[in-house]
């Protein structure tokens, strides 16, 4: 039986789940740029002169292998020379050992610190770390910009800006719908303000890390949605809604925002979860230094 990368799984019966290869859907965006999705998660890859630059790996060894096969079928004869991690989470960047074991791995330095600490099986440690907010990348004839606007979701989350295509890629930040669930590892204090900062760039196509490609107007609508939930959550809290009861939060916030944001796919199913998460931001005050007006990273100086 071959060695299986297991991420953080310890369950003895996880093999079938981890090895399952989902069907991938690939779409060409420009002469050099493609997007690929397993039906939920989404990422991008680019064709260079002699190699492929791929973002992320998908979230299981099977999905990483399916991603590899899809790239090989789309751009035959060129190896995946570079993988860029959008952020640290395993469901996006957890299995480079299965996707491209020899590739250079580029990531933000904080993302790299978390990955080194995590020691997840299959998640390769970055070989090139970026420090700062803006990086002009030139790899194998491909030019584009990587941006870390500040803590938004996960750690060291990089957006990619392609001026030639007037396209922005950002993983697990603003979604094209309302399917945020309990908003795992979102930094509520800073999410929208940093994502709105990316509107200073000239782009009209937005590729999110989940679901379908969207555009600038829908991205703005998504920012407006999160901000509106933040405001109504404060009102719910201020007006004695029992904020720990999901049905109560769902009823209050859905009634306030249904007319304006009910067009977002998944609004009815997710608004209670989103509101329950966001109202706790106002109860607790945000989570750690990432979630403060002057964000930083607690304990970062204790890590290599």
């Amino acid at each position: 039986m071959s060695q299986l990368n297991t991420g953080l799984f310890t369950a003895p019966n996880a093999r079938e789940y981890l090895e399952r290869e989902p069907e991938m859907s690939v779409d060409r965006i420009s002469g050099r740029l493609w997007t690929i999705s397993d039906g939920v998660r989404r990422t991008i890859f680019l064709e260079g002169h002699s190699s492929v630059v791929a973002f992320d790996t998908f979230g299981t060894p099977g999905a990483a292998k399916a991603y590899h096969k899809a790239v090989e079928a789309t751009i035959p004869g060129k190896p995946i020379g570079t993988v860029i991690y959008s952020h640290d989470h395993l469901d996006h960047a957890g299995f480079a050992e299965d996707f491209a074991p020899e590739a250079e791995i580029i990531a933000d330095e904080m993302c790299a610190k978390v990955i080194r600490l995590r020691q997840a099986s299959g998640q390769r440690i970055p070989t090139r770390e970026l420090n700062g907010t803006r990086h002009e990348i030139d790899i194998d004839g491909l030019q584009f910009t990587l941006l870390n606007p500040g803590p938004t979701h996960g750690t060291g989350n990089l957006s990619a800006y392609f001026a030639e295509e007037r396209l922005l890629f950002s993983s697990d930040t603003i979604l094209p719908n309302a399917r945020y669930g309990l908003m795992p590892d979102y930094h509520i204090w800073n999410l929208v303000r940093f994502m709105r900062g990316l509107l200073d760039l000239d782009w009209d196509t937005f590729v999110p890390g989940r679901y379908e490609i969207t555009n600038r107007d829908r991205f703005i609508h998504g920012c407006d949605f999160i901000e509106a939930v933040q405001e109504e959550c404060q009102r719910a809290f201020a007006e004695f809604v029992p904020i720990w009861v999901m049905d109560a939060m769902q009823g209050y916030v859905a009634a306030k925002l249904g007319d304006r944001f009910g067009d977002l796919d998944g609004f009815g199913e997710h608004i209670g979860l989103i509101a329950t998460r966001i109202v706790h931001h106002y109860l607790m005050g945000g989570w750690s230094l990432e979630d403060t007006p002057e964000p930083g990273y607690l304990l970062a100086d204790q890590l290599t």
Partner: protein, 313 residues
């Protein structure tokens, strides 16, 4: 147990002068609202107070009071101070110890005892200072060690940082003479609170188990009722079992964002083992959804990936 429901009308109507991180502006009714506080002796000089959901402790000293935390809002902070005054009249709260950084436990020292000395772990204080929340005062005395002994106004206790557990710089208070341990938002009677907000799962259980190397038999949590050593151990076992259930739920194809299915799955598969636990129906599905994320995304941030420490304290 006593009740403060007969507090003065003036106290009930005190407006909200500190508003945390609310950005709404204007009157925020919940901030100023009065909450009735109950108080109960624990052991020796240790008293515990609660407004029904939140719980904390204070210590009777020779000249005044050492209070842990500030409770949830400016209104509850004032009610807490009033409760302390009932037990120990005419003695000031001269010291506040912050359990951790969150506003719902330590957000309103400005309303409770604005001139008190405030002790916190340095990780807690870093976040408090960066947050700049209205009403949450920064510490006047910080410590960075794993254990530090204090002798304040006739009270001897230790503050212990066992590693990342929940929030930032979350410390236990250990009273060796009384064999009492107090720690907030970690072990709580019943299932876990909602979606385990700001819990650091990777190091959590091992860090908490380190506290079992100390000699205590009464545990005062930051919510609900006081428990004992076995209640503490049972709570940590719940986390270990939830870790196993979460992995199996992913293997079974459950989507943690599909709330209807997560609820159905929880009732079908977890009620047998956990259905008798306090607030199973309200929170267990959220617990499961959050735990599934641990395996899908990995731990969150540096604290959420901190490596496990199993060494005794």
């Amino acid at each position: 147990m006593n009740d403060l429901s007969d507090e003065t009308e003036q106290a009930h109507d005190t407006p909200c002068e500190h508003c945390g991180i609310f950005t709404l502006g204007g009157d925020i009714p919940i901030q100023g609202a009065w909450r009735d506080i109950t108080y109960v002796p624990v052991r020796d000089n240790i008293w515990s107070v609660s407004e029904g959901i939140y719980r904390t402790i204070f210590l009777k000293g020779q000249k005044g009071v050492v209070a842990f935390d500030t409770l949830t809002t400016p209104g509850t902070a004032r009610a807490y101070a009033a409760a302390v005054g009932r037990v120990y009249p005419n003695n000031p709260i001269h010291t506040i110890v912050y359990s951790h950084d969150h506003l719902d436990h330590t957000g309103y020292a400005a309303d409770m005892a604005p001139d008190a000395n405030i002790i916190a772990h340095e990780l807690c204080d870093k976040v408090v200072r960066a947050r700049r929340s209205d009403g949450q005062l920064p510490a006047t005395e910080v410590f960075a060690d794993e254990r530090k002994s204090y002798s304040i106004d006739g009270n001897e206790f230790e503050l212990i940082y066992p590693g990342p557990t929940h929030g930032d710089g979350n410390i236990a208070a250990y009273f060796p003479e009384s064999k009492v341990l107090f720690m907030v938002d970690t072990v709580i009677p019943g299932v876990g609170y909602t979606f385990f907000p700001d819990w650091h799962f990777t190091p959590y259980v091992s860090a908490m188990k380190r506290l079992l190397s100390l000699d205590w038999d009464v545990f005062v949590p930051g919510h609900f009722w006081i428990t004992d050593r076995q209640g503490f151990i049972d709570s940590l076992d719940y986390y270990d079992r939830m870790s196993e259930f979460a992995q199996q739920a992913i293997i079974n194809g459950l989507d943690p964002h599909d709330w209807a299915e997560v609820t159905k799955y929880t009732n079908l598969n977890l009620a047998g083992e956990f259905g008798q636990l306090f607030r199973f129906g309200e929170y267990c599905a959220m617990n499961l959804s959050r735990y599934m994320q641990q395996y899908l995304t990995g731990g969150w941030g540096i604290e959420g990936n901190w490596q496990q420490d199993t060494t005794p304290l």
